[in-house]
């Protein structure tokens, strides 16, 4: 199956910042540097050992054109490096790096991404992502759009407010063991459900925290991966797909592009131990579980997921890192990581990771 890629490639190191509500005294370079040094020092390598570097970020969070250019100062790009950047979550930067290794032009790759959402009004900033002629002039914000989707899901019987609250409680309590997460405690569901609605039917607990943070991953091929890590997390398959943009032409109660990417990546070919799903809103976890066919036995978002920490442009890459970390630590044999981009889960990436090469089944 050509889309799977024929070279063995693994995650060999993952680092993330402590995700915080407001990082006031550090700029983006200062945010990414400890994370970049973290992955390299874990492996005992320097930038010269990296064949390809790729990052993900967006100018709309930084409020300046070419914001990623300054962040390159955190890498140590001297002598000059082979490098690229996606205006997207770092999960897509990881995809580009994986492709680069598949071409045979690189054996190692450094991937990083970051986002400081705190300087602006995030829900308004994200409205600039919409169709500029018909939607953006109305400034529908990201929470309002997610609420429309949640309402459609409730009406279609896809989920209930009780199930959504349970997702919130489980996610934030799981994050208690994740020192990098931002929200790490939760009231009981019945208490949460007495709170007023923020944007009906969403309550505060259904929404992700506004978060500043960064993450980095090192990928390596074949024997290089075995040299660098005791137990690499092998990328068995990775695929990404997009749905239409306009909310009026797609069924918001399903995630067709996640289902398709999951099928291409072969999620259902073997049991899944752990899934890290990039679901910023509680109802979206339910949608994504369905789209990927994940049953009750799957440990979903043991890190707490995006509901516990949602650094824009990094939260998807963090999902891959968290899933890989479970495999590298030996606690899981086969994991699924998912990343999303765009309004109401428009674009989705699915990555299947295993503890051994050759399918991991």
């Amino acid at each position: 199956m050509p889309h799977i890629g024929s070279r063995e490639v693994a995650v060999v190191a993952f680092a993330q910042s402590d995700h915080v509500r407001r990082l006031e005294h550090q700029n983006e370079v200062e945010l990414v540097m400890p994370v970049l040094h973290g992955v390299k020092s874990t492996l005992g390598i320097t930038q010269e050992d990296i064949d390809f570097t790729c990052s993900g970020s967006t100018d709309y969070l930084a409020g300046a054109a070419f914001s990623f250019v300054q962040a390159l100062d955190g890498v140590g790009a001297w002598p000059p490096i082979t490098e690229s950047h996606v205006e997207a979550d770092g999960a897509w930067a990881l995809y580009e790096a994986w492709v680069k290794i598949q071409t045979g032009q690189a054996d190692t790759a450094l991937v990083y991404s970051y986002g400081k959402s705190s300087p602006g009004s995030l829900r308004d900033v994200l409205s600039r992502q919409l169709d500029p002629y018909h939607q953006a002039p109305l400034w529908p914000d990201s929470i309002a759009l997610a609420a429309l989707q949640a309402r459609a899901c409730l009406d279609a019987g896809v989920t209930t407010v009780e199930e959504m609250a349970a997702v919130a409680v489980r996610s934030r309590r799981s994050a208690a063991t994740n020192p990098h997460a931002l929200l790490r405690v939760s009231e009981e569901a019945d208490v949460l459900l007495k709170e007023p609605e923020l944007a009906a039917p969403l309550r505060r607990h259904d929404c992700p925290p506004i978060t500043d943070g960064a993450a980095a991953i090192v990928l390596a091929a074949g024997d290089r991966a075995r040299e660098l890590a005791e137990r690499p997390a092998w990328i068995d398959a990775i695929d990404h797909r997009t749905d239409a943009h306009s909310m009026g032409v797609r069924d918001l109660t399903v995630s067709g592009s996640t289902r398709l990417a999951g099928e291409k990546a072969g999620v259902g070919r073997a049991p899944v131990d752990v899934a890290e799903l990039h679901a910023p809103f509680t109802h979206q976890e339910v949608l994504l579980r369905r789209a990927l066919g994940l049953g009750e036995g799957v440990d979903v978002n043991p890190s707490g997921g995006a509901l516990a920490a949602n650094p824009m442009m990094a939260a998807g890459l963090v999902r891959i890192g968290e899933a890989a970390a479970r495999i590298m630590a030996g606690g899981a044999q086969r994991a699924v990581a998912h990343a999303t981009s765009g309004p109401c889960l428009q674009q989705n990436l699915v990555c299947v990771l295993t503890g051994s090469t050759g399918g991991g089944a």
Partner: protein, 386 residues
């Protein structure tokens, strides 16, 4: 260079102009994409993945516009990837698309880059506020003029070299019906007498601000073999980046540019670029960058790039024609400008460049740079399979 050969089987461009008020953003992109598909004799359904590039999103005021453009680009249900590497992005985007084919992941990829600069004021968008940049410059010309001054001092080039480059590129553009600027009355004196914007750069030595898009269809070897029109075969491609500033960095002839070119030549088996390359489409947004890049890319020994210009070597009938399309100096939708260079190189070796065709072109290079002369993307294409 990769497991699978890459062929350019379709090239599509829009008409470039200051304001394409006749089309929406999707309309602009579809004009280029449909032209590329028609050239390739393929349909939307034949495309496996779409790779989009553009420069800063603030230019159009749409954050990550590829999400909105997914429908217009036939990407629904397909992988859609967005690249942004500053001014080199058009080139980088083509290289990322090529890597999908080289890796054997996809067989047919549509790659497209665009900018609709009439939606905003690009010069001020490129003038970063405090604390991102020192408050000393206005626009990219203000940033690069000191580098040009340094080049003139170092190379002892006569001060009219930039005028010669601008005159050549604008005259070449008269042979390219898609070019933004068509100035049939341009003369050496009219360039010389134009307003000095950022000394030593005059108005007529400066790129315009354009609306436009450029697309290519890239296929694997089987796709190239099956194409009814001649394909351009990718011979090599590379990207390099380096930090914006640190003590000792050579901003006139950056190491990243040299390394990038050397990597491409190594892959393509080009031993002597001046001899082996038939035509070059080089990213020259300001006139003086032609001689500067001639040196940086290994076409001329250090300090002598300006002599190539003075001798006419880079003219249409010279031994290394540079920018027969008219170049960035004649059409500049920033995010697309790099891909236009890559695509024009492909058109030349396909023998499909029309009135600005260089007869018998067999090997061509396309080049792009961005940021503070710190991001580089380049490829070499040939009429024969490598």
């Amino acid at each position: 260079m990769g497991k699978e050969r890459v062929a350019v089987v379709g090239v599509g461009q829009t008409k470039y102009s200051a304001t394409r008020g006749d089309v929406s953003l999707p309309g602009l992109l579809r004009e280029a994409a449909r032209n590329a598909l028609a050239d390739a004799e393929l349909t939307w359904a034949d495309i496996d993945a779409v790779v989009v590039g553009k420069a800063p999103d603030f230019f159009e005021g749409v954050m990550m516009p590829e999400l909105y453009l997914a429908d217009a680009l036939g990407a629904v249900g397909k992988p859609l990837l967005r690249v942004h590497t500053a001014g080199s992005v058009g080139g980088s985007t083509a290289l990322v698309a090529a890597s999908l084919v080289q890796a054997g992941i996809h067989r047919r990829v549509l790659t497209i880059a665009f900018e609709k600069q009439s939606e905003s004021e690009a010069m001020w968008a490129l003038t970063l506020p405090i604390p991102f940049q020192m408050p000393l410059v206005a626009g990219a010309g203000g940033y690069f003029a000191p580098h040009i001054r340094a080049y003139m001092r170092r190379s002892e080039a006569p001060d009219y070299i930039g005028i010669l480059v601008a005159l050549k590129d604008r005259q070449n553009a008269l042979k390219n019906p898609l070019a933004h600027l068509h100035e049939p009355d341009i003369t050496f004196d009219s360039v010389k007498d134009s307003l000095m914007l950022w000394d030593p750069l005059r108005y007529s030595e400066t790129c315009p601000s354009s609306d436009g898009a450029c697309a290519m269809v890239l296929t694997d070897e089987a796709g190239g073999d099956a194409a009814s029109k001649p394909p351009a075969w990718m011979l090599g491609g590379a990207m390099r980046s380096e930090p914006t500033m640190f003590a000792g960095r050579d901003q006139v002839s950056p190491a990243g540019g040299r390394d990038c070119a050397a990597d491409v030549y190594r892959q393509a088996g080009i031993d002597d670029p001046r001899r082996d390359v038939d035509v070059a489409e080089i990213y020259v947004p300001f006139s003086w960058y032609e001689p500067m890049w001639m040196e940086n890319l290994g076409f001329a020994p250090e300090g002598t790039g300006w002599k190539m210009v003075e001798e006419g070597a880079t003219q249409m009938d010279g031994d290394l024609p540079v920018n027969p399309s008219g170049g960035v100096l004649s059409s500049n939708p920033i995010g697309a400008s790099g891909m236009i260079r890559f695509a024009e190189a492909a058109l030349q070796v396909r023998g499909m460049a029309g009135e600005h065709q260089i007869d018998g072109a067999r090997v061509a290079v396309g080049h792009a740079y961005g940021g503070g002369s710190q991001f580089f993307a380049m490829w070499a294409v040939g009429s024969s399979k490598p």
